[in-house]
């Protein structure tokens, strides 16, 4: 192997990052479904011939680490029978980890008849042939959730295998969009292929390979230095999900984190076994979540490569909801992952107090309204709801921000919502006092109140009422979510999850998302910060007195003699 000098290595390192961005730009540009090109529910990666990550670009943080696994699965399955121009797809929840909507396409990249790497593109398909259109809410086994694909060759040496394309068409309610999105994924891989060829023509395969090794070495070294700097020890945390979506029992989640030298170990022993509802998660996506949680605390600003995460080991028992096997339902696989991430981050927070960050509100908090009435027109309004994030060692948690496993999701403006759908958005506001008190306060959740102007259907998936965002270092817990449905006859109902049902005109649904946990003793929060919180409506005067021991006058001034003194 020819050696790559530091300059070439750096040029290659910048190249692989930019190449992945180009691949994703190409995917977003040509995708048919708005969930991909607007919601950015996709990820692409360029890998070496062994499936080691070189560059990646993702719209969804949770896709950080499972795409390389797909390459390894394809390689293992097809071995030497991988040829130039081939494309393979897969979506099986137990192999690649996510729900069946996420279909990953993988293509080998050849240069002068030699395998030099792989390109991969994952995208969320709108309809995968499940028992309900779009997303399923009450599934109890995977067969209700759509078609399952193991590694499957759909293009051979550049030629489409017709029967596979027909098979895909026959198994979705959205034929054209599905094939269109698949074509966009293939286009992304081809973009990577072309860009890599340009580079290889210039520097040659041998220098390129050596540069890749150097890049892995750099990432590895940065991660090792970061873990080595954390004191050794073992930390454990546990929490409960409200339920599995079909039952009512809480679901236990446990995480133990050990640092020893340059290694970080995670163990999920103690976590609930598989559950009947659809919150089970395939092992690869569990790994992906752990990588995401790791990334938030260790070198978050650095690019991810095949040398990253070598410092992390994990153990998930066979009989665990996070190690789903047939026939466990996986449609809402991500709902437990937010809690898992919070547990991980709290463990690191104990180990590295200066990076300590309390728990966040934790899940996507989905509220959807739709009409299937062919006479009055069909429409669907669905959104994830923002909430509060945890206080940090040195600053407050952010308010009204989308949850960790998502990234680019935006709220629908009231003006757009009301123009397109027969629903009035009556209120969109910061939820006062929902952030946990602390020296550094948890961020606040939001209040979003909808009034139905016509009969329609509604569905809700809210979580984390039983284990709301907890505080750290003496900080208090954030308030959990709350939902109130007021029916036109005046009846009031409080629930968190609702499988699609009729909402009559006049129904008011008020959703409130949770706040983040506080960090540090609330009595250490400064008078200035508290009077500012009250002036801005993050904290009420009453809560200032109860939680912070601070009396704020009618004019907004701190009454220092009536207030408790500040502690260090």
């Amino acid at each position: 192997m020819s050696k790559a000098d530091p300059i070439t290595t750096e040029v290659v390192r910048n190249f692989v990052i930019s190449c992945a961005q180009d691949m994703n730009a190409s995917l977003w540009r040509s995708a048919h479904s708005s969930v991909i090109y607007e919601g950015k529910d996709s990820a692409v990666a360029l890998m070496d011939e062994h499936g080691n990550m070189l560059g990646q670009s993702t719209g969804v943080p949770l896709f950080i680490g499972a795409i390389d696994a797909c390459v390894r699965i394809v390689k293992e399955y097809y071995r030497d029978d991988i040829n130039e121009g081939d494309i393979f797809i897969m979506n099986d929840s137990y192999m690649q980890g996510t729900h069946l909507h996420d279909v990953t396409a993988v293509g080998p990249i050849f240069h002068q008849d030699e395998l030099v790497g792989f390109g991969a593109a994952r995208a969320h398909w709108g309809d995968i042939g499940a028992m309900d259109p779009g997303s399923v809410m009450g599934s109890t086994n995977i067969y209700q959730e759509g078609i399952r694909l193991g590694p499957t060759r759909i293009i051979t040496r550049g030629k489409e295998i017709r029967e596979w394309f027909d098979h895909l068409r026959l198994n979705t309610r959205l034929e054209d969009a599905t094939i269109g999105d698949l074509s966009a994924q293939i286009a992304a891989i081809r973009t990577g292929e072309r860009r890599l060829a340009q580079l290889l023509n210039r520097i040659g395969t041998s220098v390129y390979r050596n540069a890749c090794q150097n890049i892995f070495k750099q990432s590895r070294q940065m991660d090792r230095e970061a873990i080595a700097a954390i004191p050794d020890g073992t930390w454990s945390r546990q929490g409960y999900l409200d339920d599995d979506g079909v039952g009512t029992d809480p679901v236990k989640v446990c995480l133990t984190l050990t640092i020893s030298g340059e290694q970080l170990k995670v163990d999920l022993t103690g976590t609930s076994g598989p559950v009947p509802g659809s919150i089970n998660c395939g092992i690869k996506q569990t790994e992906s979540l752990l990588r995401l949680a790791y990334k938030t605390m260790i070198n978050p600003e650095r690019a991810i490569t095949g040398g990253s995460f070598e410092t992390m080991e994990f153990h998930v028992p066979d009989n665990c909801m996070f190690n789903a096997t047939e026939p466990a339902a996986c449609e809402w696989y991500f709902t437990g992952l937010g809690l898992l991430a919070d547990l991980f981050i709290s463990c690191i927070s104990e180990a590295v107090p200066e990076r300590s960050t309390a728990a966040h509100y934790g899940d996507s908090m989905v509220a959807g309204f739709f009409s299937v009435d062919p006479e009055r027109g069909q429409w669907i309004a669905i959104e994830a709801t923002a909430g509060g994030w945890g206080g940090r060692a040195d600053s407050d948690g952010e308010s009204a921000l989308i949850n960790l496993v998502n990234g680019g999701f935006r709220n629908i403006p009231a003006e757009v919502y009301e123009t397109k759908f027969p629903v009035r958005v009556e209120e969109f506001a910061i939820r006062t006092d929902s952030g946990g008190a602390g020296k550094y306060r948890g961020g606040c959740g939001v209040i979003r109140r909808y009034k139905m102007l016509e009969d329609c259907h509604g569905a809700l998936w809210f979580e984390r009422s039983k284990t709301p965002a907890w505080g750290l270092n003496g900080g208090e817990n954030g308030t959990g979510p709350f939902i109130e449905i007021t029916h036109p006859d005046g009846q009031v109902e409080n629930i968190f999850k609702m499988r699609a049902r009729v909402c009559l005109a006049g129904t008011i649904i008020e959703t409130m998302t949770g706040g983040g946990g506080g960090n540090g003793n609330p009595k250490a929060r400064t008078f200035e910060n508290i009077s500012c919180d009250v002036a801005r409506g993050f904290v009420s005067r009453e809560a200032a007195r109860i939680h912070y021991g601070v009396v704020i006058s009618n004019t907004g001034e701190v009454d220092k003699t009536a207030s408790e003194p500040r502690v260090k």
Partner: protein, 673 residues
């Protein structure tokens, strides 16, 4: 008859570039003076005096200003009170929900320009169809007026839900508050941006309220210092973010439009270059000390957007698309875990590159270029002598860890930054479905012409244009534009349910506003024209594409086809059978400004030619140093060569050649072609 001039000024943080054009011959000259940030007019006056030694022969004056942008960047705008709809007070603080950095749990939203303690509410609600659900509460207005007096706000921004459909509540609030708060400027959202999306509209309205007093004060000073010296006080113009110009008087009422006034000049210059040289597609790069601005000319027109984001805050105003990339002469080279990195951090002007001798100790791209012989140590912008020895020493020190000499290190630093810039340009073009190889590269700014050939090679672009006055090209571009103002209205509905009559009437109403605007700008009726457009999307989508609507009778079918075609071009596929909805109508009104034809630059006495050692791919080559002023139209120079002029240095590598073409522009190509 004495010569008259049209003059432009690009006022930057460090330098002010002046370009002057003879109104009879069209010939241009340029000069550069130090900026005077306390009163930018002083530098402009000095520059004009240096170049023309008089103020009374200026027929037209245009300048780009960064006053508004600087006030935003330094958060030194007015104290704003925001008045909004009850139950929606927090919209401007909540913003969009999304996370700016997806792997960070420490990311914070940008701080709004009016925080919650300065946000007030009034009851009153309009529905999406414009009907009143709840009347506006006068009691709430009174409460607000009292608070505003007590708090001493300098300006008031009002943004109520659905005001773009029915502005009656905003208008009523204004007429009430005007009486109670005399002298306080009140900005209404439906006037600044009659477009849906309450967060974006609020952000636009507050931004205007926040910046307007600063921009107005600046314009008043300028009109006082400069306007009075121009004949009849006429001809004082400001560059707009949309690529057009407006009079200083109009700018007083349109502070927001001046926000990106500075950098758009270069792109507009690119448009003229496309026309002059018969090239339709250009990638324009403006490379200075800390950043590198890239923009595109596609089919002869600058690529534009209907909204932009500054400091994380959205603004619904049409702008020329400019992508700012953190790479420039000041980009720092640094080491970690046995690797070399370059940028995105910059040495800036303080401490600056090592060779400036102003305290910088870490090598930069400029240091590398100097060591490679590509910069003239004795002749740099601002006549600062550069310290080659110090630059060499810093690169040599960095090289020890890698067993590389200072020269090897210098070449490496330049290679890395070029590859990075090329990667960034490629990503911008791929997003738009464009192949950079189909474009010519236009390079300007202090550092652009020296990196251009290498950048083109990386991008496999076969042709580079170094325009006339590359160091002052933004100012040159400002002389090439017309008056322009943009109007819009949200008009939402299915295309198949929309009638041509309704559209014609809506456009006619905007045209009336547009005509009045231009007449007030002293543009003659026959010089006014309109460009109509409609924002479209397929049903169910969020983002829109603006489709031009040809003059004359509205042909619904053709416009629809045009949307499918444009969509196909942008995204690689289209759905002619799918239902389409429209979101906004847009009208650009353009007032043509008469101007002479551009001609070749004024010839100045050239410096004698000389030669020095310059390194290319690690090898020293005897390289001709040519004064650009000595080149005649049609002359061809074979690389390696360096073409020097007052404000920039063009590097012609060994495998390249360069032709001087009409207009005084340089066209650089690979020798083989």
């Amino acid at each position: 008859m004495p010569t008259h001039y049209r003059v432009s000024a690009d006022i930057g943080g460090t330098f002010t570039d002046i370009v002057y054009q003879d109104v009879n011959t069209g010939a241009c000259g340029a000069t550069k003076v130090h900026s005077t940030p306390e009163n930018p007019a002083l530098a402009v006056l000095e520059g004009i005096n240096t170049a023309l030694s008089s103020y009374d022969r200026i027929d037209f004056f245009v300048h780009g200003t960064t006053v508004g942008l600087n006030a935003l960047l330094t958060r030194s705008g007015a104290k704003v009170a925001l008045l909004t709809t009850r139950n929606f007070r927090d919209v401007y603080t909540i913003q969009g929900n999304n996370r700016g950095e997806i792997f960070s749990i420490r990311w914070n939203k940008p701080e709004p320009l009016a925080t919650l303690e300065h946000t007030y509410v009034a009851s009153g609600r309009i529905a999406s169809d414009g009907t009143e659900v709840e009347p506006l509460s006068e009691v709430d207005l009174e409460v607000f007026a009292r608070a505003a007096k007590t708090e001493g706000y300098e300006t008031v921004a009002v943004c109520f839900l659905f005001s773009y459909v029915n502005p009656s509540h905003e208008l009523a609030a204004k007429s009430y508050l005007e009486k109670r708060l005399p002298g306080i400027p009140i900005t209404l959202s439906h006037q600044v941006s009659p477009e849906w999306r309450e967060f974006e509209r609020t952000s636009t309205t507050v931004m205007d309220s926040y910046l307007a007093p600063i921009v107005r004060k600046y314009l008043a000073t300028l009109m006082n210092d400069l306007g009075t010296r121009l004949p009849k006080g006429q001809g004082l113009h400001i560059m707009e973010s949309n690529g057009g110009v407006m009079s200083a008087k109009t700018a007083t009422e349109n502070a927001l439009q001046t926000l990106l006034s500075g950098p758009v000049g270069g792109t507009i210059g690119g448009r003229t270059l496309a026309l002059q040289t018969g090239r339709k597609n250009l990638i324009c790069v403006d490379m200075g000390g800390t950043s590198f601005d890239a923009s595109l000319i596609i089919d002869g027109q600058p690529s534009r957007s209907n909204e932009t984001v500054l400091e994380g805050l959205p603004i619904q105003i049409p702008v020329v698309d400019i992508h700012i990339i953190g790479a420039g002469g000041g980009s720092l080279a640094w080491k970690e875990v046995g690797a070399v990195r370059v940028g995105p951090q910059s040495a800036g002007s303080i401490p600056g590159p090592v060779c400036y001798g102003t305290g910088g100790t870490e090598p930069t791209v400029s240091d590398a270029n100097l060591v490679l012989g590509r910069l003239n140590s004795a002749n740099f912008v601002g006549e600062m002598a550069l310290n080659t020895d110090a630059a060499t020493a810093s690169l040599a020190e960095m090289g020890t860890e890698f067993n590389m000499t200072a020269l090897q290190m210098a070449q490496g630093v330049v290679d890395i930054i070029n590859a990075k810039m090329a990667d960034a340009i490629r990503t911008i073009t791929i997003k738009r479905g464009i192949d950079p190889r189909d474009f010519s590269l236009v390079a300007f700014g202090g550092a652009g012409p020296s990196q251009a050939a290498a950048l083109a090679k990386e991008l496999q672009i076969s042709e580079v244009l170094i325009p006339v006055h590359p160091g002052a090209f933004s100012a040159w571009g400002m002389l090439q534009t017309d008056m322009q103002h943009d109007f819009k209205e949200t008009m939402y509905g299915f295309w198949d349910l929309t009638t041509p009559d309704a559209l014609t009437a809506a456009f006619a109403a905007l045209e009336e506003k547009g005509r009045a605007y231009m007449l007030a700008e002293d543009i003659r009726a026959e010089n006014i024209r309109f460009e109509r457009g409609i924002d479209f999307r397929y049903y169910g989508q969020e983002y829109v594409l603006t489709i031009p609507v040809p003059d004359g009778v509205i042909n619904m079918k053709k416009i629809r086809q045009s949307f499918d075609l444009t969509y196909d071009k942008q995204y690689g596929h289209s759905s002619p059978e799918a239902r389409v909805e429209m979101a906004n109508i847009r009208l650009a009104v353009i007032g043509t400004i008469p101007r002479p034809k551009n001609s070749s630059p004024l010839i100045i006495e050239p410096k004698p030619e000389c030669s020095r050692q310059v390194y290319f791919d690690g090898k020293p080559r005897a390289t001709r140093i040519i004064d650009r002023a000595s080149l005649a139209i049609g002359e061809c120079i074979i690389g390696p060569a360096i073409i020097e002029e007052g404000t920039a240095t063009t590097l012609v590598p060994p495998e390249w050649k360069v032709d001087m073409i009409a207009g005084g522009h340089l066209v650089m190509k690979n020798k083989g072609e």
